[in-house]
């Protein structure tokens, strides 16, 4: 009663399995690594643009962390060390594709062109995500872990059902892959052949919990085969490789071949957030070792080596990044106006009688206080 032949099964199974070692195009010193089979390197213009965005992303990240110290942000989860992943994720997408980010993906949002003040709205103490998800095709940054992966699948399925050739990409962390929703999303996507790319930024920690306590799998990318989802693992600090693999993944999904799972091996250089004390659970030596794998310096060395990037280019990019940061700083230094009464306006399209009453109570209190 087993209708499929062993050969067919072997072929199917192998088509889903990731490469044994993470795909890499560029060595840590910036030199070109032996070309991996099956992937095409992005062209130089793309890499040049990626570099520019990484410089801005890095600067944005530093600025955001600084803003927490000045009390201008409630909390900030840094992207430092993960810029190759986040920028490649954005570059692999078309403008009309959708992005489903987590709380850690602010650099991706900035790179997508979302106003950085809007990106930081929620973390600043407002009650909504700041930007317009429909206009930006960026879902609100998601905190309940792995839940957004299902939304991305639903969005992809919606686009597929309408016959559009658009793709959704869901970002998720290594820790998030342990949640049931991650599993359910991969399964739904595979069964429906939804055009969604699952992009795991495996930064080796879920707050304090190291990968070895999170999973005993040879690599997280191996989860794909259990759903019939094509999978790959990639050196997440090699922008060239991440962009090559994600582009292939997005093309695969866009062409109607169903979902694709990509695991990027990277590292969270900073603490979980500014409120976290990473020395409680990891060695300085480990962090130091990863400094040599910095994605920005690696791409810089690589592009310089290829003659694509000059000293002047680097200086210009840094200057642009400084201007970007200065503008952000200035705009974040104004006090935010938030109207308590608006709290009642978007619970439903029309407030219920109960909400109208409660709004009136609050309004009356405010009036009483003003008197």
């Amino acid at each position: 009663m087993s209708p499929i032949s062993a050969t067919a099964l072997r072929r199917a199974m192998q088509s889903f399995l990731p490469s044994l070692v993470p795909v890499r195009f560029v060595a840590e010193d910036g030199t070109t690594a032996p070309e991996p089979a099956g992937y095409t390197a992005p062209d130089e213009a793309q890499l040049r643009e990626a570099y520019r965005r990484m410089v801005i992303g890095r600067r944005f990240d530093t600025q955001a962390t600084a803003l927490t110290k000045q009390g201008r942000l409630a909390v900030y989860p840094s992207s430092r060390g993960q810029e190759a992943c986040q920028i490649a994720g954005v570059l692999a997408l078309r403008e009309d594709d959708w992005l489903f980010p987590t709380y850690r993906d602010s650099v991706a949002l900035v790179s997508r062109g979302v106003d950085p003040v809007e990106v930081l709205t929620l973390l600043r103490g407002d009650w909504h995500c700041g930007y317009d998800p429909v206009a930006t095709r960026v879902a609100p940054q998601c905190t309940p872990l792995a839940t957004q992966v299902l939304h991305a699948t639903g969005m992809a399925e919606a686009m597929r059902r309408r016959g559009e050739d658009r793709v959704a990409m869901a970002f998720i962390g290594d820790g998030g892959t342990s949640e049931g929703d991650f599993h359910e999303a991969l399964n739904f996507a595979a069964v429906f052949r939804a055009p969604v790319v699952f992009f795991v930024q495996n930064n080796k920690y879920a707050i304090s919990v190291p990968l070895a306590r999170q999973s005993a799998a040879p690599a997280l990318a191996y989860k794909g085969v259990g759903y019939g989802v094509r999978s790959e693992q990639v050196d997440g600090n090699d922008l060239v490789a991440v962009l090559a693999v994600l582009t292939a993944a997005v093309d695969h999904a866009r062409a109607g071949n169903g979902p694709f799972l990509v695991e990027a091996h990277t590292y969270r250089m900073d603490a979980h957030t500014n409120a976290d004390d990473a020395t409680r659970y990891r060695d300085a030596a480990e962090v130091e070792a990863w400094r040599t794998a910095d994605p920005l310096t690696r791409l810089e060395a690589h592009l310089r080596g290829r003659g694509v990037l000059t000293d002047e280019d680097v200086a210009a990019d840094r200057e642009a990044a400084e201007a970007f940061a200065a503008d952000l700083r200035a705009r974040m230094n104004t006090d935010q106006q938030v109207d308590p009464l608006e709290l009642f306006d978007h619970v439903f399209a029309e407030p219920t009688p109960q909400l109208r009453e409660q709004r009136a109570l609050l309004a009356a209190e405010s009036t009483a206080q003003e008197v």
Binding site: W98, W127, H128, C129, D132, P133, V134, A139, P140, P144, T147, V149, L150, H151, A152, T153, G154, M155, A156, E157, A158, M159, R161, R162, A168, G180, D181, E184, A185, N187, F188, V191, D345, H346, V347, F348, A349, T352, P353, Q354
Partner: protein, 338 residues
């Protein structure tokens, strides 16, 4: 006009919604060729195609999460949870996303989706198949919560729920699926989504009920009438929004109130109703607002449903305790009556 069971009325509502709006999609476990374990989606896949009504893998968080994404993407999903307790795996998706997405996006994204849940007991179901879970949803800001008590209401409330721009948890009283009624499906003028209805007028006391308890309330009122007591029956229809006006107007007229719910009593919707009624009608009340609710126990098995469910006798006992004879009831004040 047609005579329909509530199950048929719901099926018709889904059909009419699929016809009226191509963005409407139906999915869930066994809703396709099987037509759902209660046959509410019977024939929809056959008549509207796989594209409009389809089975999903078996995962409730997945179903609701997929619906969230599809609603963000322009569809109007109507999903079915197979039984009340089997919606619990989706609780995080419902509480943290379905209920909150409009607010989190300052109204830029709305989630026009309906989560249909067959709920409550009275059908001899085994464990986990008869939970009354309305309070979990009604307590969660951002969800509308609806429960019909008649086939006609089932039809119109479901149509309204599907057309609503906000997410609706649509609770179907299982034991009423086979209740029959003449149903008027002619489009009406102003729909009254959010309004309760007085199912029977009366003057001595108000029975507030919803979903599966409405027939119990009506039966109790009929029985009380034989004893010369005139009970008014209010059917809430929507728990969120709550129709304070209708309920308070009735209680102010009758001066007495009994709230009926199948769910375990503690911190249930009945508690909310009792609390609201005494807040708003205190000076009209001749007696405390009493509750007749399920016990605070896991839902019992088929053989013991009768002991657990608020029945006519228990409602009439509560009415008797409404101090019509001016003697304060001290039964509740006696500690540890056992």
């Amino acid at each position: 006009m047609a005579t329909l069971t509530m199950a048929q009325a719901l099926n018709t509502a889904l059909r009419d919604a699929l016809t009226a709006d191509e963005r409407v999609l139906i999915f869930g476990e066994d809703v396709g060729p099987l037509g759902g374990v209660f046959r509410i989606t019977d024939g929809l896949t056959r008549d509207f195609g796989e594209e409009r009504c389809f089975d999903t893998p078996l995962a409730e968080a997945g179903i609701v999460g997929l619906a969230v994404g599809m609603a963000m993407g322009g569809f109007r999903p109507v999903v079915e949870m197979q039984f009340d307790a089997f919606a619990y795996p989706a609780f995080e998706q419902i509480a943290s996303h379905v209920a909150k997405l409009r607010n989190r996006t300052r109204g830029r994204l709305s989630l026009p989706m309906v989560i249909r849940i067959p709920y409550a007991g009275g059908i001899g179901g085994v464990e986990h198949h008869c939970d009354s879970s309305e309070a979990y949803y009604a307590h969660t800001p951002g969800l509308k919560v609806v429960t019909p008590a008649t086939p006609e209401d089932a039809y119109w409330l479901l149509r309204d729920a599907i057309e609503d721009p906000d997410p609706v948890v649509f609770l179907e009283p299982k034991k009423l699926y086979w209740a029959k009624e003449e149903v008027d499906l002619a489009p009406r003028g102003a729909r009254e989504f959010g309004r309760a209805v007085v199912r029977r007028a009366g003057s001595d006391a108000t029975l507030v009920a919803y979903g599966p308890s409405v027939p119990v309330a009506l039966e109790a009122a009929a029985a009380a009438a034989l004893e010369g007591r005139s009970l008014e029956v209010v059917d809430l229809r929507t728990l969120v929004p709550f129709d304070d006006d209708t309920v308070a107007a009735s209680v102010r007229r009758t001066g007495r109130c009994v709230v009926i719910q199948e769910a375990q009593g503690f911190a249930g919707v009945g508690a909310e109703i009792a609390a609201r009624v005494q807040e708003r009608c205190f000076h009209s009340l001749a007696a405390p607002v009493l509750r007749v609710a399920g016990f605070d126990i896991p839902y019992p098995p088929p053989k013991l449903e009768h002991a657990h469910l608020p029945g006519v006798d228990r409602v009439l006992d509560a009415v008797d305790r409404l101090q019509f004879d001016d003697t304060p009831d001290v039964r509740h004040l006696v500690k540890g009556a056992a």
